[in-house]
């Protein structure tokens, strides 16, 4: 029983990662109508940039600089490639475009930083357990949960309180109307894409403290992120967060009973959701059909 609780807690930590990734992906899907398969790639880019910058500006500086640069690259990609996908009703094109871009990111990262994994140092204050009984609750893991929670709250506050955020939310509901109201839709979509990739980069930096920093780091995460979005409901940001936490938890609990199934369980959940309640936990009906 105790072990089960451990695994559940651990699953929730995984879930916060998925939630953060899913949040960014969901933003991009909702406003840009683009299925961003390169989301895992932006995660890797954020982490590597942070690694490169850390010796100069420290872990804390890199924690912000890495994601911001990832967001900046996001804008460039949006302006040069993704924008061609707007107005194509079939999501297959954006999916394939970003899939191709993900391949390029992996290759470029490997060429620049090498195929060999790199050591990403985290502050030693965070790098030890907080208690000896619950040794698996390390300072870093608590920090990750707090950081992701803060980022999520900050994002929701931005979307509710700032003018730009409110426009993004309005655009998610009805982009056409927003554009007739005189809002610069191009800018809106660019910034939104950048926010999405910034969140991915942030997830990457946080993950690099637990996982190996390697070019292939984003490979497994991307599908799990999609699962989180679909389970939570396409078009619902809150749903994505819930979806991420849910699949993390499910994978964690499965690990306790049957480790071999811990990967597949999230797909089983997605299949069940799609069969029973296709719009997901909090999604709207009929989007992207």
């Amino acid at each position: 029983m105790e072990l089960l609780l451990f695994d559940a807690f651990n699953g929730l930590i995984q879930g916060t990662f998925y939630a953060l990734m899913a949040l960014g992906l969901s933003l991009i899907i909702s406003l840009n109508s683009v299925i961003n398969f390169a989301h895992g790639g932006f995660m890797v880019v954020g982490a590597y940039l942070a690694y490169t910058l850390a010796p100069y500006i420290g872990f804390w500086g890199a924690l912000f600089a890495g994601p911001i640069l990832a967001g900046f690259i996001g804008i460039i990609v949006e302006r040069t490639l993704v924008r061609y996908m707007y107005g194509r009703p079939d999501p297959i094109y954006s999916l394939l475009l970003t899939f191709g871009f993900a391949l390029i990111i992996e290759d470029v990262v490997r060429t620049i930083w090498g195929a060999q994994g790199l050591p990403f140092e985290i502050p030693s204050a965070l790098n030890s357990p907080v208690s000896t009984t619950y040794f698996f609750v390390t300072g870093y893991r608590l920090f990750v949960i707090a950081a992701i929670a803060l980022a999520t709250i900050a994002l929701f506050a931005f979307l509710r309180l700032s003018r730009f955020g409110i426009r993004i939310r309005a655009g998610i509901l009805d982009l056409e109307t927003v554009s007739t109201l005189g809002v610069n839709v191009y800018l809106l979509r660019s910034v939104n894409f950048a926010i999405g990739t910034l969140l991915a980069g942030f997830a990457g930096v946080l993950a690099a403290g637990i996982l190996q920093l390697a070019p292939t780091m984003g490979d497994d995460v991307i599908m799990a992120t999609f699962v989180a979005v679909v389970v939570g409901g396409i078009g619902s940001l809150l749903g994505s967060v819930l979806g991420g936490l849910l699949i993390g938890l499910a994978a964690g609990v499965t690990t306790a009973y049957y480790p071999a199934a811990s990967d597949v369980v999230i797909y089983i959940i997605m299949a069940v959701v799609l069969i029973v309640r296709p719009r997901g936990l909090l999604g709207q009906e009929g989007l992207f059909e």
Partner: protein, 314 residues
């Protein structure tokens, strides 16, 4: 009408004489077999993708299952290569038939995601069930056996195997062609064009999506069976969603609306992958990724889509 006959004649002539001209342009028979295998799978997928309008992103599952069916059949049951191909085809087709009802109600991105989900479930089963599938290490220990033709025993070397594949490719392509010119095919196209209209003409759209999904599964299973024989090996990676993505890009690249589109796409994709990965073993992924991007931005209707428009304009 007559132009179609010329085109078809030229395609078949080129395929039949591949052994003569391919080495002259630097190709080799194993590559040609691989092109045909992927072209067949992509054509099956395209029945669903381009002609029924359902974005399947999990076709590799049935491709891979066909391979495992063949591999396991050869390992445990028989030494007949042809029977093994049939077994693989049945396994792939049966799986698609059984899972069809789960996917047939979904549309658009939801259809893509549920096909991914089912595909990934098969992938993980293949990867974890060590004792049966060989798990992560893959299933080896079988090899294509010589063909017993009654009057002769033909060992399946590279050239013979190409014609072996071509034979099944012809069957598969023939079935798809017949289908597209039949009422069933007309109905598939109608569903792609306008689901609602089809439904209110009394067509049970979901049943037809199921049928299309199952037929695509049969074709993918056949292609997967040939793929297993091609490599004498099958591993979970053949069921992975990335493989599904490759099949989709082949169809899109060549032209989703064209019968031969997936073949053209497979020639380009498999050819470039083979060629570029030999010259840039470290960076070939950039070329493939670039190919995806170029295809999507500049050739949304595929190579054949452009050719067709040119001819129409002329």
């Amino acid at each position: 009408m007559s132009r179609r006959i010329y085109v078809n004649g030229a395609v078949w002539l080129l395929l039949l004489t591949a052994a003569l001209w391919l080495p002259l342009i630097g190709g080799y028979m194993a590559l040609a077999s691989r092109v045909l295998v992927y072209a067949l799978a992509a054509m099956g997928l395209n029945l669903l993708l381009g002609f029924t309008g359902c974005m399947s992103f999990g076709e590799a599952a049935y491709f891979g299952l066909g391979g495992y069916g063949t591999g396991l059949f050869l390992t445990h049951l028989t030494h007949s290569t042809v029977l093994a191909v049939i077994a693989g085809t049945i396994v792939g087709g049966l799986a698609a038939f059984l899972f069809g009802p789960l996917v047939m109600r979904r549309r658009g991105i939801y259809f893509a995601m549920i096909t991914v989900a089912i595909g990934q479930i098969f992938y993980f089963i293949a990867e974890r069930w060590n004792s049966f599938t060989g798990g992560e290490d893959g299933l080896a220990g079988f090899s294509r056996q010589p063909l017993h033709l009654g009057f002769a025993i033909v060992p399946l070397d590279a050239v013979a195997f190409y014609y072996f594949v071509l034979f099944f490719f012809a069957i598969g392509a023939g079935v798809i062609a017949l289908l597209l010119h039949s009422p069933l095919g007309h109905t598939f196209i109608a569903i792609r064009e306008n689901r609602r209209r089809a439904q209110f003409l009394g067509i049970h759209v979901e049943r037809y999506v199921w049928a299309s999904f199952a037929i695509a599964g049969v074709i993918a299973g056949l292609a997967g069976a040939l793929n297993a024989l091609q490599n004498n090996f099958i591993s979970p990676i053949n069921l992975y969603w990335v493989e599904s993505g490759n099949l989709v890009i082949m169809a899109v690249l060549g032209g989703m609306r064209s019968f031969w589109g997936p073949l053209v796409g497979a020639i380009i994709f498999v050819g470039i992958q083979d060629y570029v990965s030999s010259y840039f073993p470290n960076n070939w992924e950039t070329f493939i990724g670039g190919l995806f991007i170029v295809a999507v931005i500049f050739f949304p209707n595929g190579i054949l889509g452009i050719v067709r428009r040119r001819m129409k304009a002329a």
